[in-house]
Amino acid sequence: MNTLDSGAKNTLIEMRSIVKNYTGVVALDDVDFSVSEGEAVCLVGENGSGKSTLIKILAGVEQASAGQISIGGKNFDTLTPRIAAAAGVMVIFQDFSLFPNLSVAENIAFSTQLSEERRLFNKGRVRQIAKETLIRVGVDIDLDARVETLPVAHKQLVGICRALASNARLIIMDEPTTALTEREVSSLLEIIRRLKSDGVAVIFVSHKLAEVLEVSEKVVILRNGKKVAEGPASDFDAASLTRNMTGRDVAEGRPNPVDPEAPILLSAKNLGKAGAFEDVSFDLHKGEVLGISGLLGSGRTSLAKALFGLVKADRGTLDLDGEVVDLGNPLAAAAAGIGYVPEDRLTEGLFLTQSIVRNVAIGRLDNHQRGGLLDLNGLWQEATHWIGELKVKTPSVEAPVNSLSGGNQQRVVLARWLSRAPKVLILNGPSVGVDVGSKSEIHNIISELSSSGIGIIVISDDLPELLATCQSILVMKSGRVTDKIFGSDISETDLAQRLAS
């Protein structure tokens, strides 16, 4: 489908033999990378593969240790953010880098105003620029709305408009689809097509790219700082991407079937919360792994939080082992034996500046105190035991938890909850931001835990993960459970269709 358009395409970006050394570590090793006008390129790699570094060098945020860069045929010895921007390279960061307190119009026109080196602020002109850009992209957003009031998808569009308003020739999008719902993704792709026909080039940086493959011409895969594959997008599919990213086939088995005799552990009846989810009922058996999936905005995260009391459900009941669990009260949920491993490890899961052992020990304070007085020895011993049990790789348990890799950090959060001997464990996105190697180890942990009798709920939109870990999967759509699937009955493509349809 994406064969050559009419007319020869000029090379826009040419990076040759880029090397980047951090003290003692080679982040990029002799990488060539080029982008043509109007071309969409997927830059793929695991965390730490060097893809972010490459982008930072291109955006002028960091300087290459060696190599040449030319933009639009012009060679640059050093790039700074200003030079890169002036040459038309715009990065849309994952957080969009917008100003939440300013209006849509101002956000769109701000960098244009800066680059024109204006001293006075002309509201009419700002609106004019913003309006023209919105028309060019083909979307309609209230120019006077403050950005903090917009939904995520609109924020992203404002970010794109801002890049376009300052004459972007290349837009780099960092993880563009993670926060979008299916419909939003397809309208984003529509906009990308429009931009490409205008001659604007796009780089998608991601580790989850199935969605953007269809509008891309080229795929470049990095691994350990080296370019390991490059080719037309049509040559790749999800499996080959993974193989190239990891350097091996990660074939995952299917989970063991649940014991049909296993008693019901957790039972949700007609749970509902206005504007989030409606009429959710399910049973979780002892030793079962239940998946809850759905696209963003389907209510899966609200439901997960409601099960742990972080969100108060308006209606319905939750029983654990036949006992009613108080809704909307995480303390009651935790006391009843429910554990929750949050989606965003860095902000919700971990106390980053604190030591590993403290991060685990926080879960067991109540069991090592008498009259408020802590038995530090006992507490430390138990926490250390669980850190060992989950094979957290660290030279010292007293090291701050932010010194660990993503996979090990996830184990720390798991260790905290496992030390409390939970009956039910809710894992929201258990392997988000974890490299593929650690991912399968986390899946092994899940299967071990379930065979020890813990009931596990996995909330995820990572379909291979769901299929590898869950015996049954609930599919959610606009707040309702629309499907219950037994994992062994379904293939990944079928599941993807059921999610999206």
Binding site: Y22, V61, E62, Q63, F308, L310, P330, L331, A333, A334, Y340, P342, T347, E348, G349, L350, F351, L352, T353, Q354, R358, A361, I362, G363, L365, D366, H368, Q369, G372, L373, L374, L376, P400, R416
Partner: protein, 338 residues
């Protein structure tokens, strides 16, 4: 805003650097005014002076560890003192002595601490239940507490207590000034609470990441309320000390202590965004400041120079704590250089 990077070298911890500062100040002052600075008389006078604001600094520290602040400490301490003073002047004959006097003093102390704890409870509810930013909640409540003290007294000093009131702030036990003993005991208790109890553990973890604390199923509302109640109780004790030393209570005593308490806490290495801070650091900060001001006093430097030097010290320590070197632009230019 995260310029707190872990560093590992000699004097890596802010407390170690502070200890060095305290020692240097002590030695320099001893050399500059030998015989006077290093005298028992000076040591005692210092020991009477600093505990009142040092205790307020402890109160400030506890709230700062949660990423909050308590701007109502001085208001609370004056309200508590005024309440105790009013109680004493209304019901007790100033010439009273002996057992009855001690009973009434006991009642006054308990009443003052209760008032302090109630004030703290009020702050805690504003912060935990109503979700006010601590800086605004305590700014407003501080005005309310001061205002109540004014309304209670009409703005004038309350005096005319039994002789026993002066004991707390002016006497010695085994030759050691009682304010010092009181401060040492409180510092030890707070240090113990912070390091050895589950309450202290939670305070620090909450300060490091409030959201993660919620996801770890900590009882945050209760935690915050307890923190502000503790801060209120400490403020009340400081208020009693001030009242005893002045032998009177007034709504606007110690108004310079508020910023001083914040200053000491920050100087002591407490991270104003929460999650880090040690009582030993606060104690060292108090000592450095007291050595400095006493020493300067002896060198005939004006009283006001203390303020000047405190400010310089604060900014100097902050620069050392956050900056790798003094060169401009040495700040996190890029992660490549670190």
């Amino acid at each position: 805003m995260s310029n707190l990077k872990p560093k590992s070298n000699l004097l890596a911890s802010p407390e170690a650097r502070l200890a060095l500062i305290a020692i240097v100040v002590f030695v320099v002052m001893s050399i500059l005014s030998p015989g006077r600075f290093l005298s028992v008389a000076n040591a005692t006078s210092m020991a009477f002076q600093f505990p009142e604001f040092a205790i307020l600094a402890l109160a400030m520290t506890v709230t700062m560890l949660t990423g909050g602040i308590d701007l109502s400490v001085v208001g609370t301490s004056n309200l508590s003192a005024v309440f105790a003073a009013t109680l004493l002047t209304q019901f007790v004959d100033p010439s009273l002595t002996g057992g009855d006097m001690f009973m009434w003093l006991g009642i006054a102390v308990v009443a003052a601490i209760c008032v302090g704890m109630l004030a703290g409870l009020f702050n805690g509810i504003l912060v935990a239940i109503f979700g006010l930013p601590p800086i605004l909640a305590t700014l407003g409540s501080g005005l309310v507490f001061t205002g109540l003290a004014v309304a209670l007294t009409g703005g004038s000093a309350v005096m005319g207590f039994p002789v026993g009131v002066a004991w707390l702030g002016n006497e010695r036990l085994f030759g050691i000034p009682i304010p010092l003993i009181l401060f040492v005991i409180l510092a030890l208790i707070i240090s113990f609470v912070l390091t050895r109890t589950s309450f202290g553990f939670k305070i620090r973890m909450y300060g490091a990441n409030p959201l993660a604390a919620e996801f770890a199923a900590l009882d945050i509302d209760k935690l915050l309320i307890k923190v502000y109640v503790l801060s209120g109780a400490l403020s009340a004790i400081a208020g009693l000390l001030i009242m005893s030393r002045a032998n009177s209570a007034k709504a606007d005593y110690g108004s310079s202590y508020l910023l001083l308490a914040v200053l000491i806490a920050v100087l002591g290495g407490v991270n104003p965004y929460g999650g880090y801070g040690k009582i030993i650091g606060v104690v060292l900060a108090v000592l450095s400041m007291q050595f400095l001001s006493s020493g300067l006093n002896m060198l005939q430097v004006s009283n006001f120079a203390r303020e000047l030097i405190w400010g310089v010290l604060l900014i100097f320590v902050m620069i050392v704590n956050t900056q790798k070197s003094f060169g401009f632009g040495a700040k996190k230019k890029s992660s490549a250089t670190t």
